[in-house]
Amino acid sequence: DVKVTQSSRYLVKRTGEKVFLECVQDMDHENMFWYRQDPGLGLRLIYFSYDVKMKEKGDIPEGYSVSREKKERFSLILESASTNQTSMYLCASSSPSRGATQPQHFGDGTRLSIL
């Protein structure tokens, strides 16, 4: 089975801090994703990476950056955390579709609170 591991289930940080959320997958997937999940808003894509060192902005990239130095690891960075970034963050990975779409596999999520 695919395993997507997020480093923390719960995280509490202060306004202005630099925050790192880590995600590791063990299935050699090329694609990795970071989503933000808020009640009533569903999942919104923050950033997407389709290969090492490659990244693409999603729908809500403002205030976030990402890093993918190794294929299995995709980091989400909040450069200067703000209270409106309090949310559930989900990481996912998938193989490239190449004619047959592949499902995304999700981690357990990190519930981040910014005080």
Partner: protein, 114 residues
């Protein structure tokens, strides 16, 4: 831009009964895929069922089935013989054929009552 609409924020059903969750989508693409993802309380999101738009036959996975109406751009999920473990958030999602990215609806919170 593709959009996905789930019009039922919350639903409830009695154990053993059947429930249908609605989803509509808007796209001009002809090659696309549709998904229902299930997120149990405090647990990992998992794929429940998926449908390729080019297939006319509705997908089924055990007690889960879809009613795919391509012309109406509708993709509803039917859960038969509901079980307590079906209690979860359900997200409808769309992916067009040239993309790796999913577009999600806002979700439907389903509660199965004993």
């Amino acid at each position: 831009a593709q959009t996905v609409t789930q019009s039922q924020p919350e639903m409830s059903v009695q154990e053993a009964e059947t429930v249908t969750l609605s989803c509509t989508y808007d796209t001009s693409e002809s090659n696309y895929y549709l998904f229902w993802y299930k997120q149990p309380p405090s647990r990992q999101m998992i794929l429940a069922i998926r449908q390729e738009a080019y297939k006319q036959q509705n997908a089924t996975e055990n007690r889960f089935s879809v009613n795919f109406q391509k012309a109406a751009k509708s993709f509803s999920l039917k859960i038969s013989d509901s079980q307590l473990g079906d209690t979860a958030m359900y997200f409808c999602a769309f992916m067009w054929g040239g993309s790796e990215k999913l577009v999600f609806g806002k979700g439907t919170k389903l509660t199965v009552n004993p």
